[in-house]
């Protein structure tokens, strides 16, 4: 594949392909196991996403949700959030 050749160079490609073949059953992303760069992209994407998932919820959001209790039962006319923004 041209991308792999770009990344690793022709000489390294053989070695790389061989290396990945021995490990592809361990690839958690499943469908991209035949392409190491795609496997890496999948890992990076989830890593970035999970790093945010693991963060504590910012105070401003917990405070906002605490105040939701004080908001009267919502109605369909409550679609206008400009007023609610002043909470």
């Amino acid at each position: 594949m041209c991308i792999r050749a770009l990344v690793f160079g022709r000489d390294d490609h053989q070695c790389w392909t061989h290396y990945m073949k021995s490990s592809e059953t361990d690839d958690p992303s499943g469908r991209d196991e035949d392409d190491p760069l795609q496997a890496l992209i999948g890992l990076q994407l989830r890593s970035l996403y999970d790093s945010v998932l693991a963060e504590p919820i910012p105070d401003r959001l917990t405070e906002l949700l605490a105040k939701l209790d004080d908001i009267p039962a919502p109605t369909k006319s409550g679609d206008d959030t400009s007023g609610a923004g002043s909470l």
Binding site: C15, L37, I41, Q44, L45, E55, P58, L64, L65
Partner: protein, 178 residues
């Protein structure tokens, strides 16, 4: 779990989606806040028993496209800040660290980026992602494929001079096994 508790339980996922979508943590929390307000105001439109996460993602996405893209220039100006923040705790992928990946992700067309995130990170099926993006399943698949191809291209160019197969393959291998 009542609606409010369910909203709370979905905040981490909404934030992760918002950060991935906007590329900016502060903007992301504005997005989440706006989405939560809208969701709460329209909670009676949510059908109990259906997928609240998908419903919330749809709302957040609509907020992003209706309001936040107008501020695109500001977001772009803040990209350097985002990269710097991420670089302070890089993942161990050799030189291809999280800041490089973030940069590449930001290069993608927004529709491709969101499709990739929904399917590749948020854990939605193609069907669910299609519903969230209000498009056909085939369109989502095509966007995901184009996003992957474009990322591969960008990351290859970025790292062609420093991306050594020895350290890199070990990094992938150890990550894949962990």
């Amino acid at each position: 779990m009542n609606a409010r508790e369910e909203l709370i339980s979905n905040i981490p996922n909404l934030r992760a989606f918002a950060v991935s979508l906007s590329g900016n943590p502060e903007r992301a929390d504005d997005l989440v806040q706006e989405a939560l307000m809208k969701a709460w105001a329209n909670i009676d439109m949510f059908e109990v028993g259906t997928n609240m996460r998908a419903w919330l993602f749809t709302i957040l996405r609509n907020v992003y496209y209706s309001e936040f893209r107008k501020k695109r220039r500001e977001v772009e100006d803040a990209d350097g800040k985002m990269a710097a923040q991420l670089a302070s705790h890089p993942e161990q992928f050799g030189h291809l660290d999280m800041a490089d990946f973030r940069d590449a992700l930001n290069e993608l067309a927004p529709d491709q980026r969101e499709a990739l995130i929904l399917v590749g990170a948020s854990g939605f099926s193609y069907d669910e992602a299609a519903e969230i993006c209000d498009c056909a399943v085939g369109t989502v698949k095509s966007r995901v494929n184009r996003a992957r191809a474009r990322l591969a291209e960008l990351l290859s160019v970025q790292s062609s001079s420093e991306f050594g197969p020895d350290t890199q393959s070990r990094a992938i291998l150890s990550s894949a096994k962990s």
